[in-house]
Amino acid sequence: MSTESIILDWLPYLSEGIAVTLGLVACSLGIGLIMGLPMALGQIYGSRPVQIIVGTYVWFFRGLPVLVLLFLFYFGIFPGIGLGGIPAFIVGGTVLGLRGAAYQSQIFRGAIQSISEGQMTAARSLGMSRFTAIKSIILPQAMRIALPGWSNEYPEMLTESSVCYAIGVAELLTRSSQIVSQTYITLPIYIVCALIFILLNYIGMKGLTILEKKLKIPGFGGGGEGAL
């Protein structure tokens, strides 16, 4: 049997790994967004203790290798709180999400801080509460500014998700390795795996570029300040 046909036989099994890989990416981006935005707001508008807590969280999760975090949570923390039997995918998704939140919060923070103070002043002068001003004026602008940086998280997380191999999540790399150990065809299978990753990267970035174009506002973001 030729190498090509063996690879073709295993392709369906490998492709299922795409769903798992994308699932991990979705966890990371999703949890990262849901947690990262409030964290950014807390770090900017929050009280001193809130700022310190968020700052420490970010320092911890950004300072550590994913591999160490995965080991810590998979072998240490989850079993430690009685969740030892939990599927590796959930541990992987959680860790990537918590980590994503740390990174994304800093993207959002930078974007929010780049908006001129006048926007808040004008909003408050119209009688908006601080909350309404943040929600209706600051965030819609900040999210647009953050989008390019946020988009960059996608390829990062895509490649990062493969580290979940180390705790046995059945994503693309894990499945490739399983196929390798079954078929003893090493290099071609790993290269197919690499090409799938590169393709996913390409497609995702194209999609995000289209989204960026769609949300674009004349003279705003991308080009930066300048226009007045």
């Binding site: 926007q119 004008a122 408050r124 009688g127 908006m128 509460s129 647009r144 004349p218 003279g219 705003f220």
Partner: protein, 250 residues
């Protein structure tokens, strides 16, 4: 009897930044429909004074009343007073992510809870007032400075405020663009809008103001009608200032 006549009363406002006392006790009263212009050298606290009125800057001392309700120490109710006190800024501060018409209607929807259709009608009406209806769907970056400032005036007008504060509304503009903004303001004054204007435009101050207040070093040191300014010797300091800074002689 007399007290009810004033819609805005400002009493003994003090404000310091660190060791620098920017406002050293400023008081004045404003009647409905009146236009007051504040002039004077830069750094004498004119802008700070305006910001104290709607509490964007909290004064250290002194009181402000709008219709006999105290604006100072209002707590969360300050948002209500800010709806009643419009403000126009030197650098426009239009919301960069919203079109002109959205800029005007956003506070109507989010603050006054007007329904979107009504808000849109109101916003278009105000844009029309300032001659910007044709630009309703343009973003701030697509507008000239004069156009942007007219939109920001419409944004303040839309709230139907009792008084509008103008903080050097033409200082960031070229002379030609200044003219279109001044026209709008002159028109507003003649329609009976109550306005407090910090400006260097002596032409506007002399023709549209009911009263001119000359400020120096955190105090109002001379005040009176434009004709007093031109004819009355009590305005010596003010005239010297105008001569020096504007080459204004009559």
């Amino acid at each position: 009897m007399e007290t009810t006549e004033y819609i805005l009363k400002v009493k003994d406002i003090h404000k310091s930044y660190g060791n620098v006392e920017v406002l050293k006790g400023v008081s004045f009263n404003v009647k409905k429909g009146e236009t007051k212009c504040f002039i004077g050298p830069s750094g004498t606290g004119k802008s700070t004074l305006l910001r104290c009125i709607n509490q964007l800057t909290v004064p250290d001392q002194g009181q402000i009343w709008l219709h006999d309700e105290e604006v100072t120490h209002a707590g969360p109710r300050i948002n209500y007073f800010r709806q009643r006190i419009g403000m126009v800024f030197q650098n426009f501060y239009l919301f960069d992510h919203l079109t002109a018409v959205r800029n005007v209607e956003i506070a109507l929807i989010k603050v006054l809870r007007m329904n979107p259709k009504e808000a849109r009608e109101k916003a278009m009406y105000e844009l029309n007032q300032v001659g910007m209806a044709d630009w309703a769907d343009h973003y701030p970056a697509e507008l000239s400075g004069g156009q942007a400032q007219r939109v920001s005036i419409a944004r303040a007008l839309a709230m139907d405020p009792d008084v509008i504060l103008f903080d050097e509304p033409t200082s960031a503009l070229d002379p030609e663009l200044t003219r279109e903004v001044i026209e709008v303001m002159r028109n507003l004054a003649s329609l009976g809008m109550t306005m407090l204007v910090v400006t260097h435009e002596m032409g506007f101050a002399c023709s549209a103001a009911n009263e001119i207040l000359f400020m120096e070093n955190g105090r109002v040191i001379e005040q009176g009608s434009p004709s007093d300014l031109l004819n009355n010797p009590q305005f010596e300091r003010c005239k010297a200032f105008i001569g020096q800074y504007h080459g204004f002689h009559e």
